[in-house]
């Protein structure tokens, strides 16, 4: 059954339709005349990623120290395809500073950019920027509606000295020595770990066949998941190609207690002493963890040697030494005679390239 409306109502309906049509046309006209901001192809990929107020200032403050860490004119920063608002601000800021900006389709490049804004365990606003294996983090507070730094710059993956007073918000905390400061730390752990990199050379394969099963292993995996040769048998070591043309400019030997991996205060001081001479641009640090002689531990000499080297590597990373600068090596045997290395210690050599 079809209902028929009275004429007045039908006319009123027509009137509304005409006005609605006019409004639609008006809306379309005004919408298509605007020029969309150029936020990139996937700028709104994550609509829920809303920024905290003044996060742009936090980001710009962190980015303002980048030229002290990475030379702008000689370096490019890579941005992935799914850019968010922080990426857009960062790309503009870094381009203005003179960096090359490279748009990549995935996570290509040694200077791949990631910015994260979050609240730390204490609930304080934190900005962290990663560029490749370098990380800069700082916490911020709000005072009278303005953002001000609430902690020092935390640098990870580098030992380069920076002047925090030259940062964008440096002047706001110039009278606060604790905040206007730099601390070195290690970069965040890698989710899922690093793939193991094994050795394949023929002498290793032949050696494995020749060795009795009870003898010390010829190789093992170090802290960076790289297979290394046992320096008890191979005096030159796994990294000889990398250090042969370098000069040893310093050596520290850290002795560990029997069956222990505890570094101790004295050990930490020795590492700091060595790092005072470390130059990121020219140096590699060769860490040789050793355990020779009898041990009561189930992990054996191999575990102890690698564990000790790992403990030193960990300490170096915590103090900001880049991972690429550390060569983590080891020697182990049940026989403690005729070994060039300490029986229960770690030798740390600072190897400098003349070039």
């Amino acid at each position: 059954m079809i209902k028929t409306l009275p004429l007045s109502q039908r006319l009123a309906g027509a009137q509304h339709k005409v006005i609605a049509a006019a409004l639609l046309l008006l809306g379309a006209a005004s919408a298509c005349s605007s020029i969309a901001p150029n936020l990139g192809a996937n700028a709104n990929a994550d609509a829920n990623n809303t920024l905290a107020p003044l996060s742009d200032q936090m980001l710009e403050d962190v980015l303002s120290v980048m030229p002290q860490l990475i030379e702008p004119r000689l370096n490019s920063i890579q941005f992935g395809p799914n850019v968010d608002e922080l990426d857009i601000i960062a790309a503009r800021t870094l381009a203005k500073a003179g960096y090359g900006i490279q748009r990549v389709t995935a996570d290509q490049g040694i200077n791949f950019f990631i910015a994260n804004q979050f609240k730390n365990e204490a609930g304080i606003n934190t900005m962290r920027v990663s560029i490749g294996e370098l990380e800069v983090t700082r916490v911020y507070a709000t005072e009278d509606g303005n953002i001000i730094p609430a902690g020092p710059f935390e640098l990870a993956g580098t030992r380069i000295t920076i002047n925090p007073a030259l940062s964008l918000l440096g002047s706001t905390v110039s009278n606060n020595a604790i905040v206007n400061n730099v601390e070195y730390t290690s970069i965040a752990p890698i989710d899922g770990g690093i793939p193991t990199i094994s050795l394949l050379s023929n002498d290793i394969i032949q050696g494995v066949v020749d060795q009795a099963t009870t003898a010390p292993g010829l190789t093992s995996i170090n802290s960076t998941k790289l297979e290394v040769k046992n320096r008890f048998y191979d005096v030159a070591g796994t990294f000889s190609n990398l250090i042969n043309d370098r000069e040893r400019v310093a050596r520290e030997v850290i002795i560990f207690p029997n069956d222990s991996m505890r570094l101790g205060e004295q050990g930490k001081q020795r590492i700091n002493k060595l790092l005072n001479q470390f130059s990121e641009a020219s140096d590699l640090i060769n860490v040789i963890g050793c355990s020779n002689g009898t041990t009561r531990l189930a992990i054996g000499n191999e575990g102890l040697a690698l564990g000790r080297a790992n403990r030193i590597t960990e300490e170096l990373l915590t103090l900001g030494v880049p991972n690429r600068s550390i060569l983590d090596d080891a020697c182990w045997s049940e026989d403690s005679t005729g070994v060039d290395f300490p029986n229960r210690g770690v030798v740390i050599d600072l190897m400098r390239s003349e070039t």
Partner: protein, 348 residues
Amino acid sequence: MNNIRRQIAAVFLTMPILALLFGCQSTPDVEPYLPRINSTADTMAGMSKAELDNLQLVSTNLVSALLQLRETNPSTTTLQVSTPGTAFGNLMIRALEEAGYSVQHVSADQGLNYVRYGKRNSETEAGFVVDYDLSIGKVTLRREYITNRSGIFPSSLMSIVGSQSASTVVLDDSIFTEQGGNDLFISGVETDNASQRSEIKTVQVKDYDLTPDDKRTTQQILLGNTRKQQLGRTVASININDYTRMRRAVLIFDTRTTNIMGRGNKRAISLLAREYQPNDVYSITACTDADGEDESAFTRAVRVQEEFMGHEIPSKAITFAPCIRASFRHTSDNSPVPVTIEQLRRKN
């Protein structure tokens, strides 16, 4: 009734005024044509979508050739650009960004790889043609184009001057044929070096080549594919018997379709690259399919190659190993996939 008529008349009288005020008809969304940084949208004011599309085809055509030249490889070349003052400039910089070049913004004409470009109108025996060029360092690319009812088409060979690898450039002119029409154009490269020759062909465009807008090859896809193919072509071809195997790592990609490598895999490559010696070769096995044809595996291999090149490892130090049949994978299987890398050292 009169009241309604009056309202209808008023609305329709207002329309032209509104249209004039908002200039709706000729203002397309210009975002896809603009560089991501330092764009000048005002240079596109009054231009139609068709005009912008034509300029985009030209810039894509020139940049797809540029990225194949050894001297201007995007993996190793940082370009310097000024803020564009024309619509063509905006489109050119956008194309360079899409091709994967690192772009540095400079205030004047600083830098070894400063980008220069131009557009000139010419009256020739063939009628009105427009001549577009792009120069970076000593390399200059130039081509003439003609506009007709169907769109824009090349009307000359692409001239490449100042490059030692111009003859290796493969032009993908399919972006022009997709416009349809009834036309004929010449495709190929002419160089300033008589010893460099490239294939020259005639391309016939037919009405049935006309492709709907949403099905056409986008700039991003064309430049991405060209770059991928180019990277794949530059890898070394080696005799494995001349080398000793040194190290091996197996990277895991989260899915069959992803190109994201992740921090762990990136760290592994960085450690492998740290031990690089001149004459070393990294052999990449990405393909584990039985039939030896796997586009996504090739993409992963190129991704690993790019990562090595980021560590300044030359492309001649990288080789793609043939497919090995590791296990059966259904085409819909999107579980993690391995990519094996072996570091090989040349025997003395």
